[in-house]
Amino acid sequence: MNLNGATDQDQVERILQGETKAFSALIGNTKGLVSQIVHRMIGNVEDRKDIAQEIYIKVFHNLSSFRFHSKLSTWIGQIAYRTCLNYLEKKKLVLYSMDRPEDSEELITGKAIALSVDNLEEWLQKKQLSQILDLAVEKLPPLYRTIIILFHQEELTYNEIQEITDLPSGTLKNYLYRARKKLKADLLAQYKKEDL
């Protein structure tokens, strides 16, 4: 049983007894995570609203089957992720592939990194780092974007991200590695551009 077990259990019981306030509170507590997943996975602004509503209606209808094997928030994250995944698959949108991965490969392993590594940190300190990164993260494919955010911004553990995404441990670590490498390459590319 997880640390939040008691409070999760209490909250679920109150919702199942028909307490609307308890369900509102659950939405309030988890909308940050759900919003992250929906925003990172779904590019279309108009569809986000329907998907967010669909997620919580699924949560409500399936709450009686929740077995407390994970945190309630992780379970809701899983429903959010699967609902978005379902949407992307229906729309046949690209989920994994990086655009031109050879670019990042060249930048990271080739000459570029040796030329700029000394100054990257310094350059980043001068820039509005989070703004540059925001743009770089946006360029990642939805799946990479989501796991990078869940790990670095939401600070979820590997186990929690695995539960949400259903990715095997090795795959998750590999995707995180590739996403960070791509982010770094993007920053280097931008740094190089400005440096010229």
Binding site: I27, G32, V38, I79, V117, I149, E155
Partner: protein
């Protein structure tokens, strides 16, 4: 100690999963400024992501969801049609059984092959689409469950 510099994977592992690092990676990091700088870049990226503005819904999600649940439960409450149809069907069947019980007995004297063909034919005709519909809706439900 590793004499060549660490690769990206080792540097990322040092930066984010130090507990899983091999001893040589830690030893190398302790002595190599070049690799230390590369690790610092990654930590800087991580810090930058942490500081990024978090997206929020530009609508009231609580209200939207409660409204959606209210609508779906109301439409469920109002849907009396199937029940009324079933009740009507049972009513008609009972009434006709009561009034035409004698004629019904005559119907089941199966010396008329046409009557047998007619009854069995109708039964098959009705059960095929019902059976198909059941299979299709069962598969659909399984699919939905898959995404829950």
């Amino acid at each position: 100690m590793k004499l060549t510099h660490l690769n990206e994977s080792e540097i990322q592992q040092y930066s984010f999963d130090m507990m899983d690092c091999d001893q040589y990676v830690i030893e190398h990091m302790n002595t190599c400024d070049y690799c230390k700088k590369k690790a610092a870049d990654y930590l800087m990226i991580s810090k930058g992501i942490k500081e990024m503005p978090e997206p929020t819904f530009d609508f009231d999600i609580e209200e939207l969801v409660l409204e959606g649940l209210h609508t779906s439960s109301r439409s469920k409450e109002r849907n009396y049609l199937p029940y009324s149809l079933i009740a009507l069907g049972i009513g008609i069947a009972t009434a006709s059984l009561y009034f035409f019980i004698d004629n019904l007995a005559a119907l089941f004297i199966f010396d008329n092959p046409f009557m047998v063909f007619l009854i069995v034919g109708i039964a098959i005709f009705i059960s095929i689409p019902i059976g198909l519909d059941m299979v299709i809706s069962f598969n659909k439900k399984l699919k939905i469950m898959d995404y829950l």
